[in-house]
Amino acid sequence: MAGEERIETEVLIIGGGVTGTGIMRDLALRGLASLLIDQRDLCAGASGGNHGLLHSGGRYVSNDLHSAVECRQENLILKQVAPHCIEDTGGLFVAVDGDDPDFASRFPTLCAAAGILCEEVLPAEARRLEPLLSPRLIKAYAVPDATVDPFRLALANVAEAARVQGSLYRPHTEIVSFAITDGEITSVSCRDRLSGARLCIVARQYINATGAWAMAVARLAGCHNVRLSYSKGTLLVSHDRLTARVINRLRPPGDGDILVPGGTVSVLGTTSVRTDNLEGVRPTVAEVDRNVREGQAMLPDLATARYIRAFSRIRPLLQSSGEDDRGATRGFALVDHRQEGLNNFCTITGGKLTTFRLMAEKTCDLVAGRLGNSSPCRTATLPLDDGGACRWTEPGAAAKYWYQANDAEDMVLCECEMVPASAIDEILACAPGLDETMSLEAIALRSRAGKGPCQGSFCGIRIASYLYERGYYRDRTGLYHMRNFFNERFKGMQTVIWGRQAAQMELAEALHCGLLGLDNLEESDSDSGQAPDSGGSR
């Protein structure tokens, strides 16, 4: 095609979740440059829509020993190599009156079988540690759960791969077709979802790390042996941080039974509903209420807590014989596609946030081997270095940096999360994947802007105005970006608007629509390729 851009790379990685970015870094540390593409942006799928829980493995001891062991190992590794992305909160498994006491008493034995540290904590002591726990607590065990920021992991992976190997990341790039000759993919044809431009990518190896979309992408390449089922999970973000530790319900996995702190908030989830639909996934009021109802058995205050956001994502589950998605393996699968006659394509899917590094390692072992590269994997020991530009995703950190810098000229643009103008400058200057696609949503993904109680209602306007000031916007594009940003944030708010959020929402809408008239913009223009379907965990 005339004017079609052509890019050559050693390895093309499709999918910018934690796994795809983990592969990018792992390859770079083995001396292999790659190109990472995503149809939306970093962590737009399940990577950005989960609890942010670094599992101890305790969650899986009763039904998936293999996953439990993997979690235990990866938990230790990540705490060593990426401490800046992790808050080592510890976790509690708690049973309340009415929960199966047998299950509760078997828990330490099950943990021991998986090698997971597990210590009984007397109910009174547990309630001293976590005062909001239910007075009807009957059993509690401490495990080494922690929390992890997937956005910072992904940004740091991309930043390091770019630094050490010149690897590239392109958001908003979707696969149109694979060209296949004699058992080899020779190129992929892509489309830039913002500009509509076509793009041809030629690589020696192609990796499908598209998570829930892996089955669809594999089929595009003519491969039918990736079989997934889809489970929709819905989670809620509370206005306040309710516990210091991760709280798990001590029972077989069910709805609303994990509460994970994240900086200044807590995340409650999740529900699990089988679905066939990957697009347009949004929380429903029924799912939100179900999480609240179930969660309040562990913490009664969850019934009256103020929630600022709900979000839904699709978990890709490796198809198993059983009907119960909770029982399905949470393990991962690496498919080499040799059996289908392809020698330079593989698919990695399933798994979970905690095991992303291991998934990347296994994938890179295969791909590096195919390329005749015998360098060992280094991600289990080499500390993850993000060079600073990724630091703005950390809850509470922006305030600290701003305070330390002590620069009265540096205006705070997002007042809920204390994100200053200098953070926006730094992100614009050096955060990965932002060169061509600057938008409010892209900045929000790379910082805490818009994550506080106002959910971007005010800072969206302030940041847009700052971007006009800096000359990034020169016409009405900024208005459309504002509208799209607010529409996107609203997807996460729609089901939790009661109590003080109802007042917050009324003020926001009076401002955005009543005054600024963003509801009256023509439908128009560059709306395609925008952010995830339900806004994600943040």
């Binding site: 009021v285 205006m411 306007i461 020169r474 016409d475 009405r476 208005l479 109590g499 009543g514 009256n520």
Partner: protein
């Protein structure tokens, strides 16, 4: 404090201190009704100063040019809308009386005209309004005439960018450009509209700013700037700056809480007590009951309990932001009297999928039901109490956000409610 000062008697008690509450007090004061007003800070600080009557008809993205004709359409399409239930002449009279009062009180307003004015917003979009402060009036005129103008912003004032206003208006206003100034005496750090407005009450600040504006205008005869031209005497500040600089000057509202709203609030708080009205601002009424002697309002401040005994009471407590309505996980309720609230069947229906959906969200149409005299009614349509009236956006069957009609509903229904209360009181 003496015990007597904490127990108030009046003919009409107004609960609420948004535009509806203040409008009610204006109308009552003008009718020599002994009035007491009490209520939270109110959403008035969030207003831009624009007084819109009807800026948009249901789901139509085009700005409404003639609100009076719009009201006729509204009557056809939405007969239960509070504005549909009032005679057009009454609405015009209400706006006239309101703007005359505030103008005489020192905050000049343009009188209601035959058509809407396309006023400017802080991001450079247009907003339909019927009346606006005289300090802002030159902006829409300059826009309509495509007159060469400079939009000025200030270093350290966030959320207002001259470049942004210009970038979004240039397609229809080619001779518009921007300039950034350092506000006199505020060279460093973040600066705030309220502080700037109070600083401009000082003559020296005005002289310095006028010099800067003249230079920034660079030949253009017209300058727009954020709404910071004084707090208590905006017209005087505005006029003097125009004289000193030789320019036509207009204000553009900033992001809320904005100076024009605070001006109105402070003016009312200063003026009403002088006119004999009992004003208890910043307090929330805890309890409203109807005794044989009349309505009884109970509240408490730092010194203890306060009571207000009235002959009639007007509820202008607003919606969720002001606390007149409260939403819990299951339903919407009215906070003071537990009046029945017309509302969607369940929470899942409160909001549509798309935030900026032009049809608006069903939650905004929830509210309390009233009869033609603005008296709340129960589920059977019976008047809850003949001494109880309600006004403002707490009323059902309207979407003031999509309709751009919040001030219109507030002023017009307050006018109707006060007239009905007056009838009762004169009886």
């Amino acid at each position: 404090m003496s015990a007597t000062a904490r127990d108030h008697w009046c003919d009409l008690a107004v609960i609420g201190s948004g535009i509806a509450g203040f409008a009610a007090s204006i109308f009552a004061t003008n009718r020599q009704i002994a009035t007491a007003q009490v209520g939270n800070t109110g959403a008035i600080a969030y207003t831009t100063g624009y007084l819109d009557l009807l800026g948009s008809l249901y789901a139509d993205p085009n700005p409404l040019v003639n609100p009076w004709q719009g009201l006729a359409h509204l009557r056809q399409e939405e007969p239960h809308h509070p504005l549909s239930r009032l005679p057009v002449e009454l609405i015009r009279q209400a706006f006239n009386e309101f703007t005359t009062f505030v103008t005489n009180a020192g905050i000049g307003y343009t009188p209601p005209g035959d058509e809407n004015i396309t006023a400017l917003t802080p991001v450079g979009t247009g907003k339909q309004t019927l009346c606006l402060p005289t300090t802002m009036a030159a902006g829409p005129l300059a826009l309509a005439a495509r007159r060469a103008a400079v939009i000025v912003d200030f270093k350290g004032l966030k959320g207002f960018s001259g470049r942004q206003v210009v970038a979004n208006l240039r397609h229809c206003w080619p001779e518009l450009c921007s300039a950034r100034l350092t506000f006199p005496g505020m060279a460093r750090g973040e600066i705030y509209p309220e502080v700037m407005a109070r600083a401009l009450e000082v003559a020296g600040t005005r002289r310095e700013l006028a010099d800067q504006l003249r230079q920034a205008a660079a030949g253009a005869g017209c300058v727009g700037l954020p709404a910071v031209l004084g707090m208590h005497h905006p017209d005087r500040v505005h006029q003097e700056l125009e004289e000193l600089s030789g320019l036509t000057i207009f204000e553009i509202p900033t992001m809320p809480p904005s100076v024009p709203g605070i001006r109105l609030r402070e003016m009312f708080e200063q003026l009403f007590p002088q006119r004999g009205l009992t004003l208890i601002p910043q307090q929330k009424v805890d309890r409203l009951s109807f005794t044989d002697d009349g309505p009884l309002l109970e509240l408490a401040d730092n010194y203890g309990p306060v009571t207000i005994r009235a002959k009639a009471v007007l509820l202008a407590t607003g919606r969720f932001l002001s606390g007149g309505l409260v939403a819990d996980r299951n339903r919407i309720s009215e906070s003071l009297l537990q009046l029945p609230v017309s509302q969607p069947a369940e929470r899942a229906e409160w909001y549509r999928q798309q935030y900026t959906d032009r049809r608006g969200h069903p939650i905004h149409r929830a509210g309390i039901e009233v009869d033609d005299s603005c008296r709340p009614v129960d589920r059977n349509g019976r008047v809850v109490d003949p001494r109880l009236f309600a006004a403002g956006v707490i009323l059902a069957h309207q979407d003031w956000i999509r309709g751009r009609c919040g001030a219109g509903i507030a002023i017009a229904t307050a006018f109707r409610a006060v007239a009905a209360a007056e009838q009762l009181l004169r009886r």
